[in-house]
């Protein structure tokens, strides 16, 4: 994470000189200290992230594919002649324990067009879907499976 912050600093500056690198080292350290102190961030979560690096990449890829797929579904609905849609509110349970992963799941569901997370209570999710076809099989989607695998590796 420290390296990431440093690279972000370099990228935002746009060029590499001695001063910028020196300032970058100090400022990245300060921001990292702030994250550890106040945002419940630690070296342990860094290691956890690197253990799940490939799964994270896979998750991002799956998320992209899902976004494109459901975008086309929504575009098809918008341009259909008769708007015969059946909006649904779906309640379902996802067996995730950590708050972070629940947030990720809720965010990905909202990010995919056609579904919005309305409420999350413990592991109960409340979803609004534009059409019932978009909500089909949401309780054991690819997202849930991938996040379950990540959670298993957390406990190791």
């Amino acid at each position: 994470m420290y390296v990431l912050l440093f690279l972000l600093w370099i990228a935002l500056n746009g060029r590499i000189t001695a001063e910028i690198v020196a300032f970058g080292v100090v400022i990245a350290a300060a921001v990292y200290w702030f994250m550890c102190r106040f945002l419940e961030y630690s070296l342990k979560s860094d290691i956890r992230f690197f253990k799940n690096f490939f799964r994270t990449l896979q998750y991002m890829f799956v998320l992209l594919v899902e976004i494109v797929k459901s975008s086309f579904a929504v575009i098809k609905i918008v341009f259909s002649k008769k708007l015969d849609i059946q909006p649904q509110i779906v309640f379902f349970e996802a067996p995730l324990k950590s708050d972070f992963l629940r947030t990720i799941l809720a965010n990905s569901i909202t990010l995919t067009p056609g579904t919005i997370t309305v409420d999350v209570d413990e592991n109960r999710f409340c979803i609004h879907a534009l059409d019932y076809t978009l909500a089909e099989g949401i309780e054991d989607s690819v997202f849930v499976h991938l996040l379950m695998k990540m959670e298993e590796s957390y406990n190791d």
Binding site: L12, Q86, I116, T117, H128
Partner: protein
């Protein structure tokens, strides 16, 4: 030359997606359906336009800034639409008329 054509294709695709969102906003009647089309088509539309810009700019510091922009949009967008949807569902008394409620796993 190919660079510009490719980026133009991406930007036009993004504009089409955003225009779809606008058309959808006028065609639907109910708040939540409008929001679905409006807020969530932004994710793909904005991303496509920024991909087009990345192709034009080539690989340098600007690219990283544009990628950071996409990430920011994709993190912020769900939060705002979630809050709007939640407020609507909590305050609307006749929610059952607009959408059917389904429960899984005996909740």
């Amino acid at each position: 030359m190919i660079k510009y054509i490719l980026s133009a294709i991406f930007i036009v695709m993004g504009i089409v997606v955003l225009a779809t969102a606008m058309v959808g906003n006028f065609r639907f009647g109910y708040v939540l359906n409008r929001m679905q089309v409006g807020a969530t088509s932004d994710t793909l539309g904005a991303a496509l336009i920024i991909i087009g810009l990345i192709i034009v700019s080539g690989f340098n510091a600007t690219t990283v800034k544009l990628i950071v922009m996409v990430m920011f949009l994709w993190f912020a967008n769900p939060v705002s639409s979630h809050f709007l949807a939640r407020t609507e569902i909590i305050t609307n008394e006749n929610i059952m008329q607009e959408c059917e409620v389904v429960r899984h796993d005996s909740i």
